[in-house]
């Protein structure tokens, strides 16, 4: 039967303020712990669950490489319906480059015989879009990014995919399995957790593996520092109470004859 691995990342909720860490190399850990699953990965997980529905007997693993708090996101994947949750545990909150993360995923997945690996098209935090295609390369899987549709046909060892291009055009490919797809948002509408899964997830143990089980991959690049973007000219911002700002805006719109 089909075995699927979904790569999920825990990210800071996008409504939280982003503060640069004193090391300058990544951001401060959120004091309120407001982290969640990367939205692009939610689409990847949903797609895996839909494949399982279409092909009963399919097995869906969800895996995250991250510090201790990432366990919560792996558990979320179980609540949504993944069969097993795997946490590659990092010792600290340091940022890892895509190559390091991809190496660790491949080290775990290498001998597990996954037919299909799904990932989000990118992470909302570091916006690299590299881990998926790198895992594919290390494992020798065929791959496609920005996938907006996939189709499996029984007894065919290929997966038919459409990837999205600029302007919403698409190109179609047939990939021989095993394959890795990085999934674009909008491919489906992610579900809410079902109560039965939530209850099961509560008692189910995660498979936790210390990242140091494997030799650390030699980094190929590193973050020098994070910087704030150039400040916005203060003249851009309207000042005053909400009503005063609205009055100023309406005045501008009228002066330009838009209103």
């Amino acid at each position: 039967m089909m075995k699927i691995l979904v790569c999920i990342k825990q990210v800071l909720d996008s409504d939280r303020p982003v503060r640069i860490h004193s090391s300058g190399k990544w951001i401060e850990t959120d004091p309120h712990g407001l982290y969640r699953m990367n939205r692009f990965d939610e689409f990847a997980l949903e797609e895996a669950l839909r494949i399982r529905e279409a092909f009963p007997g399919t097995w869906v693993d969800a895996l995250s490489v991250g510090p201790e708090r990432a366990a919560q996101t792996v558990r979320r994947a179980l609540e949504l319906g993944a069969d097993e949750g795997i946490h590659i545990l990092l010792d600290d909150e340091r940022y890892r480059m895509p190559w390091e993360t991809a190496s660790r995923i491949a080290a775990y997945a290498g001998n597990k015989g996954y037919d299909l690996i799904l990932a989000g098209v990118m992470a909302e935090d570091d916006m690299q879009g590299q881990v998926g295609p790198m895992v594919a390369e290390i494992m020798g899987y065929s791959s496609a990014t920005a996938v907006m549709s996939e189709k499996l046909i029984p007894d065919d060892n290929r997966i038919y995919v459409e990837r999205e291009l600029e302007g919403g055009h698409r190109e179609a490919f047939a990939l021989t399995l095993p394959a890795l797809l990085s999934v674009q948002s909008g491919i489906n509408r992610p579900r809410y957790p079902a109560l039965s899964h939530v209850l099961r997830a509560r008692s189910q143990k995660l498979i936790t593996i210390a990242a140091k089980t494997w030799n650390p991959p030699a980094p190929r690049d590193h973050v020098v520092c994070l910087v704030e973007p150039a400040p916005v000219k203060s003249s851009v911002f309207l000042s005053g109470s909400p009503l005063e700002k609205a009055e100023k805006l309406v005045k501008i719109l009228r002066e330009n004859a838009w209103l």
């Binding site: 480059m97 916006m127 881990v131 055009h169 490919f173 047939a174 590193h222 911002f237 209103l259």
Partner: protein, 339 residues
């Protein structure tokens, strides 16, 4: 043809073609490579992958004045990630350039990370800037939808870079060799090998609504509208203007609040209205790619750090559910009537 093999500091630019024509984004990447090389074109070489491209490679070398490698293979056109990665990695192993520059397009994003992974190169994506920090070359890219910038440096001998479109200004003509007027062309033929990836063809996007392209004013909704019901506010606001239309971020489409024909951005529609009002949109590069040509931008966002303010002419830091009703109210009152 006898040609000098690559020197240590060489930069290779992978060209992107569409229907046999080089895309403007390739010129931007050359401009980037020049910036990286301190304006010296001698060490820049272009790779043009495709089928029957020798003639075009000649034209390019003449026109731009840099050396071109025509990477010839029947299976390289149309684009096939597997075939491209295989052909390019063999070429790069032989030439061993310091940098490989690729447009950060849907195509570039598809093969660059895998290419780098396979040849032990560093990979740095969506580059918006390059600087030399006391001899250390660092590349700048946006993270957190533009709220913070990240500077990355390579530790590898070879580095694959994807360059964000629209940042580096393309030039028509580049400085040429001192003793040659034209670039030279080398043809490298790639043998066809059995592929695990089969190309099935292009599917064109549905014709999108013309409303957005002809509108003078676009009022655009982002996730920050919070609920589908708040689209009523966006529609009402748009209704105040003549020749207006409602646009949105991709997220709003993904949530099912508006159809994809309203989506503005990289994978949606590109617009350039006289006035663009962004409501609850963070200003991710993929969104900005579709609206940066707007003549005047008003942004309403409750987060003063939102990247959309970087390109706004007027910014309002407010909760839009409070602010927009005020604007609607005020603009419906006659400005000349005594309050």
């Amino acid at each position: 043809m006898a040609m000098m093999r690559c020197r240590d500091n060489e930069i290779m630019v992978v060209a992107e073609l569409l229907e046999g024509r080089i895309l403007p984004v390739t010129h931007e990447v050359i401009a980037f490579a020049l910036a990286l090389r301190g304006g010296d074109s001698q060490f820049i070489r272009m790779i043009v992958p495709g089928r029957d491209i020798q003639e075009m490679a000649n034209e390019l070398a003449d026109a731009i004045g840099i050396d071109v490698i025509a990477l010839e293979g029947d299976h390289l056109d149309p684009y096939n990630a597997e075939a491209w990665k295989m052909a390019l990695s063999a070429l790069l192993a032989e030439w061993n350039p310091r940098y490989v520059c690729i447009p950060h397009t849907s195509l570039g994003c598809d093969f660059a990370p895998g290419l780098a992974a396979g040849i032990e190169a560093s990979c740095i994506t969506a580059i918006e800037g390059v600087c030399n920090r006391e001899g250390l070359i660092t590349f700048t890219r946006s993270i957190f939808n533009g709220k913070v910038m990240m500077q990355v440096a390579s530790d590898a001998d070879m580095t694959v870079l994807t360059v964000l479109p629209g940042v580096f200004k393309a030039e028509e003509k580049f400085p040429t060799f001192p003793d040659h007027k034209k670039g030279r062309v080398e043809v490298v033929r790639v043998p066809e090998v059995l592929q695990k990836t089969r190309v099935l063809g292009m599917i064109r996007a549905e014709e999108r609504d013309l409303d957005l392209s002809i509108a003078d004013v676009i009022v655009s909704a982002g996730r920050g509208i919070g609920h589908e019901e708040n689209l009523a506010l966006i529609r009402q606001l748009a209704g105040l203007f003549s020749k207006s239309a409602v646009g949105c971020s991709r997220t709003v489409c993904d949530l099912g609040w508006l159809g994809y024909k309203h989506q503005i951005g990289l994978t949606g529609k590109t617009v350039s209205p006289k006035l663009y009002i962004a409501c609850g949109i963070s200003g991710a590069i993929q969104h900005v790619a579709g609206m940066s040509g707007s003549k005047y931008v008003v942004a309403v966002n409750k987060d003063p750090g939102a990247a959309i303010f970087q390109m706004a002419d007027v910014g309002i830091v407010e909760d839009l559910t409070i602010f927009i009703p005020l604007v609607i109210d005020l603009s419906q009152t006659d400005p000349h009537s005594p309050a």
